[in-house]
């Protein structure tokens, strides 16, 4: 039932009269992004400029990358609270291994993300813990490990190759944005065109049925958390390169909430069984644009937070209408 949400509109059950809630659930997030852009084009000075759009995209890129992994996890009816800690861990490891060269340092940082994911995945799939509890442990402990490794200190990054990752651009498009877009395409391909993607959706839809059907439930679950951890570590690397400093004490704070918000606002149900990749990207963009719009109109951060809260509630309420029909 819910798996249909992933299918293109053409495959959806032919509705005799498309109702407003159904339409909103399917396209609401895109409509909202378009409406915000339109509003800004008319009412906000200097919003639709290349410079500003560049800034917005650069800021949203790490959130998109983390949210892509989170979308996969949520697709299996899980959740990963440890993504911010995985980012901090990757950031803490970078300066320690940059002496051996950029590639080894990047590999170690990504490996740390994979290890975080593997621990989460093992706790969820082998031990059978609830995802919130399983990932809570590394949420609490992961940042501590990162701080212990970094001696609790912020370290400047001087490696020019690494900094180029954060500030470079390809044909005028910032490298981080290119990476985020490429990853979104890759994850969309993974979800819609590969066996692994179908297994994710099947396990999220009904885990016992998937197990009875002979799907490798434990392996897929572990793989999903490992992917999420690696993506979070990559986001941590890119954010560190942009900041030109490794800051394990604050990097990735509240990232789990931003990522979950992007996924949910993008139309992926928390109850699993469906992954909306494009929706997730749009969800992240919507939250970013909303904040930027309010700030440009001199509305304080407090208003932005309350508006975000309202959007989350609205998105989930709309999704609920659809499913209960």
């Amino acid at each position: 039932m819910t798996t249909q949400a992933t299918a293109p509109a053409a495959q959806a059950r032919p509705a005799s009269r498309p109702s407003l809630p159904a339409w909103l659930q399917e396209y609401g997030v895109y409509a909202a992004v378009a409406a915000l852009l339109l509003f800004n084009a008319v009412f906000t000075d200097h919003f639709l400029t290349t410079d500003n759009l560049r800034t917005q995209l650069i800021q949203v890129a790490p959130i998109v990358i983390v949210a892509l992994g989170m979308a996969l996890v949520i697709g299996t009816e899980g959740v990963d609270l440890s993504v911010g800690s995985a980012m901090a861990l990757a950031a803490a490891l970078l300066p320690l291994y940059l002496g051996y060269g950029l590639v080894p340092a990047l590999l170690v940082a990504l490996l740390a993300g994979a290890v975080v994911g593997a621990v989460n995945g093992a706790l969820v799939s082998v031990v059978g813990l609830q995802p919130i509890v399983a990932t809570l442990a590394l949420f609490v402990g992961g940042r501590g490990i990162a701080l212990v490794m970094a001696d609790g200190q912020l370290k400047q990054i001087v490696n020019p190759d690494l900094l180029a990752l954060g500030t470079g651009s390809v044909l005028g498009v910032p490298l981080v944005v290119v990476i985020a877009a490429a990853l979104a395409l890759a994850v969309a391909f993974l979800v819609h065109r590969t066996t692994f993607g179908r297994q994710i959706v099947a396990i999220g839809g009904n885990r016992s049925a998937a197990a009875l059907a002979g799907l490798p439930v434990k392996r897929v679950l572990t793989g999903v958390y490992v992917l999420c951890g690696v993506l979070a570590a990559l986001a941590g690397i890119l954010a560190t390169a942009r900041l030109t400093a490794s800051d394990p004490s604050s990097l990735g704070n509240l990232m789990e909430l931003s990522a979950i918000t992007a996924v949910v606002v993008g139309g992926t149900p928390l109850s699993g069984g469906s992954v909306r990749v494009l929706g997730t990207v749009a969800g992240a963009l919507l939250m970013q644009l909303l904040r930027a719009t309010l700030v440009k109109h001199d509305l304080p951060d407090s208003t932005a937070q309350m508006a975000q809260a309202a959007i989350i509630i609205a998105a989930v309420y709309v999704a609920r209408e659809r499913r209960s029909r």
Binding site: V79, L81, L123, V127, G128, L129, Q130, I132, V133, A134, L136, A137, L138, F139, V140, G141, G142, R143, G144, I145, L147, V148, D151, G152, R207, S208, N253, L254, L257, I260, T261, V264, L270, S271, P300, D301, S302, T303, A304, Q305, M306, Q308, A309, A310, I312, I313, V316, Y317, R320, S324
Partner: protein, 348 residues
């Protein structure tokens, strides 16, 4: 006795655990292994806590002093009050992510209102924070929305409200010196600070409500299986609304008492507190799937976290980052142990 019945609840299987009423029938002839498993499940945290305290007292002479004990317990009392509400929420199978923000909001509101006396200083935060809890409860119980998302939104909303109240964090409201409200946070009876006494009184009341009232039994039934509880004719929606309301009220109260203790409404506290509270509840043996748990376990869980923090300060040479590493380690240890104990009991 009744608490243990729903341990068999498995998030994977999705099967409805036995209702609390069946517990006594099941527990009539427990095998030896089952009995040990249950004992560890229920008293394991207390045992670990006592063990840590005994060892620490021998190793660090500065640990087992009355002053240190007072310090630790006063610190812990605020998290304890918040975690009490969280326990009730989690027993119904829900979760409340908003408590950290609500705690901070309660503190700011109390400090702001304290200029008019002690009654407004308590009533304003309770009304506002209770209101947030009520909205959470209504959206979850009546609109059928996921607790995780609803309370995530109110986490943002409450922090937004707090920022709006304080001119984006620029204004700090001070509690008038020597006022009765400040005394509430700083005063003590026989050396026990009021915050400790308030927390203990609330835990006593919470334990009685949970174990001795039909409302408490309803919470366990709702957490065991919401559908079954509905079929039994229990007021499921009302129970759910009630626990979120209570969680909001308790977080607001804890924030208010904390403001009284600090003499000001600090805007930057409370971030991440929801996860500390959840960790304490889980370490205390309450199952996140709902249907089983106790407030006493939560109290030991809070104290264990506080003692770990204090010990790391005592050791001194360790930086404070180790605290979260150790807390996270304990959390994994406890939940994995719980999981295997629950499994062994099901097969026993």
């Amino acid at each position: 006795m009744k608490l243990s019945s729903s341990l068999a609840a498995s998030p994977a299987a999705g099967s409805a655990p036995p209702s609390p009423e069946n517990a006594d029938a099941h527990g009539a002839r427990p095998s030896g292994r089952e009995r040990i498993a249950e004992l560890v499940q229920r008293q394991g945290v207390l045992a670990v806590l006592l063990l840590v305290i005994v060892i620490a007292s021998f190793v660090y002479p500065t640990f087992a002093t009355l002053d240190n004990a007072r310090g630790v317990t006063v610190q812990a009392s605020f998290l304890a009050i918040v975690a009490l509400g969280m326990t009730l929420v989690i027993i119904t199978g829900g979760i409340d992510l908003s408590v950290g923000s609500v705690f901070a909001l309660g503190g700011v509101l109390a400090a702001w209102a304290s200029q008019w006396g002690v009654l407004p200083a308590l009533l304003v935060p309770l009304v506002v924070c209770g209101g947030i809890g009520l909205i959470n409860g209504l959206l979850i119980a009546r609109a059928g929305m996921a607790p995780f998302i609803v309370t995530l939104a109110s986490l943002l909303g409450a922090r937004g409200l707090l920022l709006a109240l304080t001119d984006e964090g620029a204004t700090t409201y001070l509690v008038p010196k020597g006022s009765f409200f400040a005394e509430l946070g700083q005063g003590s009876v026989w050396g026990f600070g009021y915050p400790i006494l308030i927390a203990l009184a609330l835990f006593g009341a919470g334990g009685l409500v949970l174990q001795r009232t039909s409302f408490g039994q309803t919470l366990f039934a709702v957490g065991g299986s919401s559908d079954a509880a509905t079929l039994m004719g229990l007021p499921v929606a009302r129970a759910k609304i009630m626990v979120y309301l209570l969680s909001g009220l308790l977080a607001g109260l804890a924030g208010a008492v904390n403001a009284a203790r600090l003499s000001s409404g600090v805007t930057i506290i409370g971030a991440g507190m929801e996860l500390d509270a959840i960790a304490a509840v889980v370490i205390g043996g309450t199952l996140l799937v709902g249907g089983a748990g106790s407030v006493s376990g939560t109290l030991w869980g809070v104290l264990l976290l506080a003692v770990i923090q204090n010990l790391i300060n005592q050791i001194g040479s360790l930086n404070s980052s180790y605290q979260s590493v150790v807390s996270g380690g304990f959390l994994i240890l406890v939940v994995v142990a719980q999981r295997y104990l629950a499994r062994s009991r099901r097969t026993a």
